[in-house]
């Protein structure tokens, strides 16, 4: 899918600009906010699409996220992490909240959930991650259970108890796999830098 618009991984060297821009947004700079939108909206919207599925609702989530970014830029602390992480953490939480609100009823039927997973959830997280070479390679270092646990939580918005039900594993196992899976991913990504 090389060259397809919007499916490119934003180069990491763009991150420094985002940190600086967010500092300007914190001081009320509307132009900097536009630049932040231009820099980060594809990631935010892409993630929202992935988690909530419905394009119109993904737009709503994207709008909520950027309003948060505008309002809370004053609270962003560059010493604690990158702007990109901060924005995508907000985006993921917003997307997950949206999907949990609207799918709360459906989620009570675990069979429906299982059907949904098996029918329209090929491992496209992994496929799309191939755009991001390092992420792809590193996902390959995870065990199947680590990968499934991380994927179902992050891209489907399931809680770890829901993931435990889906994968038919004990709760402590799943929460541990989420943690050691992310740690392995982190260590692998660091090793690639």
């Amino acid at each position: 899918m090389a060259g397809e618009p919007g499916l490119r991984l934003v180069p990491s060297e763009g991150g420094a600009d985002l940190d600086e821009l967010l500092g300007k947004v914190a001081r009320g700079d509307a132009q900097a906010f536009e630049a932040v939108y231009d820099e980060a909206s594809a990631s935010v919207y892409g993630l929202a699409r992935r988690v909530v599925r419905d394009p119109a609702r993904a737009e709503d989530v994207t709008q909520e996220v950027f309003l948060d970014v505008w309002k809370k830029a004053t609270r962003f602390d560059a010493t604690r992490g990158r702007a990109k992480t901060w924005i995508l953490t907000i985006a993921h939480r917003r997307a997950v909240d949206a999907v949990r609100r609207s799918e709360a009823q459906r989620r009570q039927d675990s069979q429906a959930v299982a059907d949904e997973i098996s029918h329209d959830e090929p491992a496209d997280a992994i496929v799309n991650a191939e755009e991001a070479g390092a992420v792809r390679n590193c996902l390959g270092t995870l065990t199947d259970l680590q990968l499934e646990s991380v994927r179902l939580a992050y891209f489907n918005g399931y809680t770890y108890s829901e993931v435990a039900t889906l994968l038919d594993k004990p709760l402590p196992t799943i929460k541990t796999r989420m943690r050691d899976g992310l740690i392995r991913l982190r260590d692998c990504l660091e090793g690639n830098r």
Partner: protein
Amino acid sequence: MNTELHTLSGAYALDALGQEEVEAFRTHLEQCQACRIEVAELQATAAELAASETATPPAALRARVLAAASREPQLPPEVRWISTARARRWMPRLLTAAAAVVVIVLAAVFGIGHLIGGEQPTMSAAASRVFHAGDAQTSTAHTSNGGVVTVAVSRQNGKMAVETDQLPSLGSAQTYQLWTVRAGTATSAGVVSDLSSGAAMPLPAAGTTVAITIEPAGGSRQPTTRPIVLIHPRQI
């Protein structure tokens, strides 16, 4: 470190905890620096997963977002106490001991808080005594109006002092006012009559947050504007 809670860091970074667990885990985070560092790293890792999911949003969304933002005020900054070169001037020995501080957001207090007692305590230029005290702990914070305040706490003196000479000057119609905020109640700690002389006040009780607002000249009985800085000094 609470081992059972600690193992939730991965699920937390993936937003995979239920609401009650999120709150329990956040409480745990406030007390566990190692956990905060781990969570920050795992959140950064999770964000890398998101980076593989980009999709260009519809062009109309941009205008909608920008218009919506232009109607929304921004929140005042939270302040984390940091040691800086400015603090170094006062207390080189204690630099490494400068405590990390838990940030507490008390903006809501300023909508509902009420002032106990009507008098405005007199500010003192004796601030430097606090800064020079042998046990002084000093921290510097940036304010939302582009200034810097340095606060010193001395248990020996039983005082807290604020250095205000790096705050932007206000016209004659306005003044900086200090508040202590505790249990949802804001209490005036005095107005700053002279930026160059700083201010000293009795050491606030443990768990007190200190705030500075811009008020009409003479000060207000309760905060009428959003604080330009909110600080929760752990060393109090």
